[in-house]
Symmetry: C2
Subunit: 384 residues, 2 copies
């Protein structure tokens, strides 16, 4: 199998971009990635996006964005809800591994503002099961609240422990120029913010926002011609599970996360403890805790306790979400998975600025679709 | 590069399936493909679909359908408008070529009935350019009518010649048990049917319908263990062009079709004249004629004349659309490209029943997204 490396990244600030259309955002990120990679020719474009069809009525985003970017190469639009970006990245890597393409651009883009909140919620609800969840009034927040409530009961974890996650994320985001929520918060503020679905408060939930990210990947052989710092795609996996929570074997373990990560670790020939830095999919505080456990960083039931003990701080055993994560960098749905790859790449290159985790060599990105129905895990490794 | 073969196919009848949900249709087709392939284990699922997010509010179709099918493997939803099926097939083939997956199922599914025609039209319009086409009232039919009008003017081809296409398609469909419109028609009926967008009449347009198709692909090495008749994926290509007609260099040539097919021919080491049977994307009569020319079967401007001369009949030089094509087999949008692969596979195996083209060895499938913004061409070859 051909080995693959990331040679360029680009991101836009996550936020409310009233002055930019979806394709403007995408091109902004893509051009930065081209620039970062030394403007190579690309053979294909892979785009992760969830709701452009519903929100702006534009389908066939592959061709649409390839055209606007000025590169009429084979172009594919991949959708797997909030994990669209992670899925697009994996398919892009497979494209290069196949030998059919040498160099490809993987991008993710989402435009959520300029629509009424109700409309946005309706579109995003497509990631839940229509017949057995959405139809009966279950929102994403309520589904996550149920998981959190049950987790707190099962493992006897106090509510306050979860609040430490948003506090750390907001702190991290102050160092990230691309983050949406660049202000600090406190445990008291998290706990006293409005309840969205008990026990989740406003500050436990990631914001909606617009954004685009892009990465350019090629063979390791090609990468060596242009740089001495190779960011290799060492391993990856995708796991799926029932969309409906009611059909799952368990509520407090995301089987898709376990399966995806075990496959990725095996391919990369590493263990969870070898990871230096990770970007995990903390759409809600409970999702961060489940990720910490399902990725094998903490024992089941101990994630929030290890967080409290500082294991996942920037100077801890594994630095989690130095970007601020979905919570504070923001969550431009179909683009999030590509932001994560871009962020991990910068970390491994030592180019993460104020976000930098010292001497990070192995990084992991975990991207969740729905309430855990499709999860991608990618492991990048720096080689010099 | 690993060589890839199709080892199983399954289709549902195209039509109005009021008694089946989208996932029922998909599973029906997938189980037939499993059965046909001797029930192998699969490593991944690739699904082509265009409008489930808009029409039934269900996104993340990969995980959704993997779950309902009972195979919790990595699952990807690919969307490129009407070429979603063809794009999913190419990505599935790349997955096997990469060596990461050995055996994968590629499916396509679409559910269009049970929604008001207006809603369906609205969703499908996402394949056109929202800002510069749809917003100003251009429908797909009117865009195709413009191309046809200009073609007739430029090449001085009489209207009647185009009517021969639907007549041939309806005739072919009477032999296809999966076809939606299994009745014959005449040139007079085509010409006197209601005008949809002058010069296109009702009988020049493909119908909307529900349907699902699935194919199972694996390495040629694996295929040889279970069958002596290898249907090899000999070549493939994807071309893209501007979505908006106004931005194209030319109206009467689909550059994406030219580019995709030249890449596929080169990879398969064949020339257009070597093709024995092809399934082309005849969403409208004019699209069939452009396909005939852009694929290199006829000279530009001569497609309708060669059709009139019988070159593309079942006993002609190249048998086109023995299934009845989009015109009469039907056009379940995101599934169409997978139907084509399944049909060509049956032809090459000699299993096409009454549709059979004698001793077909090389087959081609051409799948168009939008008015030619993304086009896939795949070439299959029988080896014994």
């Amino acid at each position: 199998m051909r080995e693959v490396a990331v040679i360029g990244v680009g991101m836009t600030k996550v936020g409310q971009h009233f002055d930019k259309a979806l394709r403007d955002l995408f091109v902004d990120a893509a051009l930065k990635a081209f620039d970062d990679a030394g403007n190579p020719n690309i053979d294909a474009l892979y785009v992760g996006n969830m709701v452009a069809g519903e929100a702006i009525g534009q389908s066939n985003l592959g061709a649409y964005l390839a055209d606007y970017l000025g590169v009429k190469v084979p172009a594919f639009h991949i959708e797997s809800a909030c994990s669209s970006g992670g899925a697009a990245f994996i398919l892009g890597v497979l494209g290069v591994m196949s030998g059919y393409f040498d160099t490809v651009l993987v991008g993710g883009v989402e435009k959520l503002t300029e629509y009424p909140t109700q409309t946005t919620t309706l579109h995003l609800a497509g990631a839940a099961e229509q017949e057995y969840e959405v139809y009966f009034g279950a929102s994403f927040t309520s589904l996550n609240a149920m998981i959190m409530r049950y987790y707190m009961h099962k493992f006897n974890v106090p509510r306050e422990y979860f609040a430490e996650w948003p506090v750390m994320m907001h702190e991290n985001a102050t160092k990230n120029p691309y983050a949406q929520l660049r202000f600090k918060t406190t445990i008291e503020k998290v706990l006293s913010s409005p309840i969205i679905a008990d026990p989740l408060t406003l500050f436990d939930c990631s914001p909606t926002g617009d954004g685009a990210a892009a990465v350019i990947i090629t063979t390791v052989e090609n990468a060596k011609k242009i740089t001495d710092t190779i960011v290799k795609v060492a391993g990856f996996g995708m796991g799926v599970d029932s969309i409906s929570l009611a059909m799952r074997n368990e509520l407090t373990t995301l089987a898709a996360s376990v399966n995806a990560s075990r496959k990725a670790y095996k391919m990369a020939k590493i263990e969870p403890k070898d990871v230096d830095v990770a970007e995990i999919h903390d759409a809600f505080s409970i999702m961060a805790i489940l990720a910490i456990e399902d990725l094998g960083f903490s024992e089941k039931g101990k994630g929030a306790i290890d967080l409290h003990d500082g294991k996942y701080a920037k100077d801890g055993d594994i630095a989690l979400n130095p970007s601020g994560g979905l919570k504070a960098r923001g969550h431009p749905v179909g683009a999030t998975g590509v932001y994560q790859i871009a962020e991990i790449t910068l970390q491994l290159r030592g180019d993460a600025g104020e976000m930098q985790v010292p001497d990070a060599e192995i990084g992991l990105a975990q991207n969740i679709g729905g309430s855990g129905s499709s999860i991608t895990v990618s492991i990048l490794k720096r080689e010099r």
